[in-house]
């Protein structure tokens, strides 16, 4: 019955602002036609509000809804999943807003707006997005409040809903920390659930890594316990690619075991790796990880693997021994694969390899000669290499002479194989920069790299980085130092942007903390935290108990706030209330209609032995309260004192 009221323009205004604030951050992710549609619908609603028009017919709105649904179906190919879901919700919200006639419609729109604030986190969970969502929630809550309290001024409405949010905040903190966490997903997710994740893939074609080189996104962070290894030893191993079809490289045969196939030796580095989700099982450990790492498995090609693809930011405590010798006992299957080349590709390079191998069968000599020849070829390291045709290695080595690391690695491995030496491509990350603010090593997608491994009978697999031949600075100082033309570089990697980098370091240190404690707060973290504050082996009962106690405590505080009578700021009123209260306890309460002078007279008659002070207090109050002059503070204090000292038998 109340809900049938038609809302006032001010109430609509709040919701309009809330919807605009909620949808604006979505604009980046939604299809452009949908953004235009939503903006148009909001603008029409705004214009209707301005001119006090009536909403369009429901049939028209239904038609728009159906058309938008069909558009979403075409855009995404399906209806299920987060992307089409968010798109549909956005259209629905705008249409709901447009057709709203009564408060019930507005309430429904408010719920949709809250949903879309949650939807923001599908793409991005940075502190900035959190702040935007919070602002959206504040506006949405205000619009809900304005439906109830239309009489208040807008500033007062905003203040009241900010107070509500501030009072909800402690509950949020307690629930966030103590609500029993479940590692999702609860059921199979639609296929697009992890589409936003970037990283290395398990195939390599020319250009696949240089694409990553343009991305400033963080791949992982490592916090070393002690000094980190020098830049030239920071090789983080990803997919190892053995199979070559003339154009792309794919992983070869590899065993997976619970223990490594090598004996770790040499200097150890201990570090904590915080991996951004990349939806792949490999962990990008530094070569070569120690045995007995919990929840990890060891691939025959020395990758460290997780049991599940990494779909949430995850931390691993790792130990690596870079100096370990590996692969002396490599299986013949792997070696055979590492020698195989497709026929009829790259004739010029094959000829070069035969020339290198002429007169020797010692792989070490061939390796040295090949490196020598490549160094002499005047190859250029660039982020934007020219496109290559069928004989990609030939064209790179002899024609274009420009390439990114995958070109170097792929060409080198081709030469080695053509000369009869087992070799393979290893992809991963190389380098990383130390954040001076918190000392962690940050490795970005632009640190993605490809290098080669060559198998020598007496030494096993040894790492060879052909990129270092032409661009040694890439290995020592990172991408920006190695490139001459830094136009294509991400802005923050360009030289001369030091102050910006400083800001960025600080920001990233902050967001690392944010990631660790807010976004990475999972069942394990929850258990760790509870153990640290003194609850050994916490289970859901512990959580429920703590949650109950904290929630009850917060509730008590809220109730105490509700019961608190705002203190009277007027000491005169307070003193008079004290006086009346005192006499009420002696059975002479002041009647509501009784003025102070009449009250004083009555009191003087009721308590003849105190007639004088009672009358003087009442008269003093009347003079101070109703006198022409504003009350003199000193006299108010005197009156308050005489009221305090008044003792009745």
């Amino acid at each position: 019955m109340r809900d049938a009221r038609s809302p006032a323009p001010a109430q609509f205004g709040w919701l309009l602002a809330a919807v605009a604030a909620t949808l604006a951050p979505h604009a980046m992710e939604l299809p452009y036609w949908l953004v235009i549609l939503c903006a148009g619908l909001i603008a029409i609603r705004g214009a209707l509000l301005w001119r006090r028009g009536t909403p369009p017919r429901q049939l028209l709105i239904l038609l728009v809804a159906v058309a938008a649904g069909i558009g979403v179906r075409f855009e995404f190919g399906h209806f299920f999943g987060k992307d089409p879901g968010v798109a549909l919700l956005a259209v629905l919200l705008c249409l709901k807003l447009l057709e709203s006639r009564n408060t019930r419609d507005l309430r429904a729109a408010v719920l949709l707006a809250y949903f879309l604030q949650l939807g923001l986190f599908f793409y991005n969970q940075t502190p900035g997005i959190a702040a935007l969502a919070l602002a959206g929630s504040l506006l949405t809550t205000t619009s809900l409040l304005s439906l109830e309290d239309a009489a208040a001024r807008p500033a007062a409405q905003l203040r009241a809903s900010a107070l509500l949010l501030a009072q909800g905040l402690p509950f949020m903190l307690v629930l966030f920390v103590l609500f029993p966490r479940v590692q999702g997903p609860l059921w199979g997710l639609p296929t697009d659930a992890y589409s936003g994740m970037t990283g290395l893939s398990d195939t390599m074609t020319p250009g696949s890594i240089s694409q990553l080189g343009l991305s400033d996104a963080i791949a992982f962070r490592a916090e070393f316990n002690g000094a980190p290894p020098p830049p030239s030893r920071r090789y983080w191993r990803g997919p190892v690619l053995t199979r070559y079809d003339g154009r792309s490289w794919r992983p070869g045969f590899s065993t997976i075991a619970a223990a490594p196939r090598y004996q770790p030796s040499g200097r150890a580095y201990e570090y904590r790796l915080t991996l951004e989700p990349h939806n792949q099982p490999w962990l990008l450990a530094l070569d070569f990880p120690a045995a007995n790492i919990p929840k990890a498995r060891y691939a025959g090609d020395y990758r460290l693997l997780a049991e599940q693809p990494v779909r949430a930011r995850t931390r691993f405590d790792l130990r690596s021994y870079p100096a370990t010798a590996v692969g002396k006992d490599e299986s013949t299957i792997v070696l055979a694969e590492a020698r195989r080349l497709p026929a009829n590709f790259n004739p010029r390079s094959t000829a070069l390899a035969h020339e290198i191998a002429a007169g020797t069968s010692d792989p070490a000599t061939i390796l040295a000669r090949a490196l020598e020849r490549m160094r002499g070829m005047d190859l250029t390291y660039t982020l934007s290499p020219p496109l290559l045709g069928t004989h990609s290695v030939d064209e790179f080595l002899f024609d274009t002479r420009q390439g990114f690391c995958e070109h170097f690695a792929s060409a080198f491995v081709f030469l080695m194989r053509a000369a009869g030496v087992p070799a393979r491509v290893v992809t991963g990350y190389q380098g990383g920069e130390i954040n001076p603010v918190d000392g962690s090593l940050v490795v970005r997608q632009s640190d993605a790299h490809a290098w080669a491994e060559v198998w020598l009978a007496e030494r096993g697999w040894i790492r060879v980085d052909p990129t270092a031949l032409s661009a040694p600075a890439r290995i020592e100082s990172g991408l920006s130092a190695a490139l001459q033309d830094w136009d294509a570089l991400p802005l923050l990697r360009r030289p001369g942007m030091d102050w910006l980098r400083d800001v960025r370091y600080r920001w990233e240190a902050l967001s690392n903390t944010w990631n660790q404690w807010v976004l990475g707060y999972n069942p394990e973290r929850q258990r760790d935290l509870l153990e640290r504050i003194g609850f050994p082996q916490p289970d859901w009962r512990t959580l429920a108990m703590l949650l109950g106690i904290s929630a009850a405590g917060l509730m008590m505080m809220l109730l105490a706030w509700a019961f608190a009578q705002r203190h009277r700021h007027d000491p005169l009123d307070a003193a008079w209330a004290r006086f009346s209260g005192k006499l009420a306890r002696h059975g002479a309460a002041r009647h509501p209609w009784e003025g102070p002078l009449d009250y004083g007279k009555r009191l003087a008659m009721t308590f003849p032995e105190h007639a004088e002070p009672l009358r003087s207090i009442s008269e003093g109050y009347a003079n101070l309260r109703y006198g022409a002059e504003p009350a003199n503070p000193h006299r108010v204090r005197l009156l308050a004192r005489s009221i305090r000292r008044l003792k009745l038998k």
Binding site: R107, Y114, Q117, D149, S161, Q167, L189, M555
Partner: protein, 354 residues
């Protein structure tokens, strides 16, 4: 403020003579079992009993909170959002859901606080004729130095929305349709609020000690006054009466609304009272036993009411003879109010001592 009756209100309904129609008939159509059950529930759960001494201050034990339908929809939405957060491992999704959950808990306390320590005092309730709308005045006071927005008072099927400023008070007028003569109690009053977000309803039920006297409905087309019984014929007098318009004077709070010059007021003028010079001095006697014997009690009361109204309008003095009482000759509004009161309460215990 009406005087507190010495006898509890329930006596009004008990031991009524045959033919007497109580002001508020109990609904006997309901299953006989339901009424005592409901009364028990009211007393035990909601602490609703007989009329309460005033002022009635809403303490925490008599304020109840429950979610509204909108609140339930909100809770369902939060649940869906929580499941989405778990499924997609959205840490900030959890945070948003928990924040909104906290907000709804806070809004519950706000709703509760909006009623807490609100004080109600029964005000005036002018007597009305049966069939007219009774207006109960309820004085509400807010001792807190904060505004209390969006409150509602529900009684007798009427909803009175109101809000009170910080440390302010107000006079609420609760209209109630009257059915029969006698005392009409304000009865159960529900104060509720869904402030601040409309998700939670806080309410309290009170039974203020307030009643309105309902005169019998005047007979629509009564026979002429028993002029035969009148002794002196009226003569024109300079004193004021109700007959002929004699002029205007400034309004005083005690003036009958019937005499306010509404037309002047509507034109933006001051509030004035119309004065009449009336007939003075006529006397009539209204006797219960002069009515035709086949007229039943209510019809007699109704006709007598109509005559009293007419006599007062004409400025006649009149006396009254009822089966259980005699009222001496008199005139003026106070005299007729006393007579009407006697008629209103005729046949009830309260009527005999009035």
């Amino acid at each position: 403020m009406p005087p507190r009756p010495d006898a509890p209100r329930r006596h009004l309904l008990d031991g009524t003579p045959a033919g007497f129609r109580p002001a508020q008939p109990e609904r006997h159509s309901l299953a006989g079992l339901m009424i005592p059950l409901r009364r028990h529930l009211d007393r035990w759960l909601f602490r609703i009993g007989p009329p309460e001494p005033s002022p009635i201050v809403l303490g925490q034990r008599r304020i109840f909170v429950l979610p509204t339908p909108a609140g339930l929809a909100f809770a369902a939405a939060l649940l869906v959002m929580l499941i989405a957060s778990i499924n997609y491992n959205l840490s900030l999704g959890y945070a948003l859901v928990f924040l909104l959950g906290g907000v709804s808990v806070a809004s519950m306390v706000h709703a509760f606080r909006n009623l807490l320590h609100l004080s109600f005092t029964p005000g005036r309730a002018e007597p009305v004729f049966a069939g007219e709308s009774a207006c109960f005045h309820v004085v509400v006071a807010n001792h807190r130095h904060a505004r209390r927005p969006s409150l509602r008072l529900k009684a007798h099927g009427a909803i009175v929305p109101f809000e009170i400023g910080a440390g302010d008070g107000g006079d609420l007028i609760v209209p109630a349709v009257t059915a029969g003569r006698g005392w009409m109690a304000l009865g159960r009053v529900r104060i509720e609020t869904t402030y601040p977000l409309g998700l939670i309803r806080a309410w309290s039920v009170l039974v203020p000690d307030q009643r309105c006297l309902v005169y019998p409905a005047p007979e629509p087309m009564p026979p002429p006054l028993p002029e035969g019984a009148s002794r002196n014929l009226g003569r024109r007098a300079g004193s004021t009466g109700d007959d002929d318009f004699a002029g205007l004077r400034p309004y005083q709070p005690a003036d009958s609304p019937r005499h306010v010059a509404w037309k002047t007021l509507a034109r933006g003028g001051p509030m004035l009272t119309k004065q009449f010079s009336g007939m003075d001095g006529g006397e009539i006697h209204l006797d219960w036993d002069d009515f035709p014997p086949d007229l039943d009690i209510e019809a007699r009361l109704s006709r007598m009411t109509a005559w009293i109204v007419a006599a007062e309008q004409r400025g006649l003095a009149f006396s009254l003879t009822l089966p259980d009482a005699r009222i001496a000759m008199g005139r003026g509004s106070e005299h007729s109010a006393g007579c009407l009161r006697r008629l209103a309460l005729f046949g009830t215990e309260a009527g005999t001592d009035a």
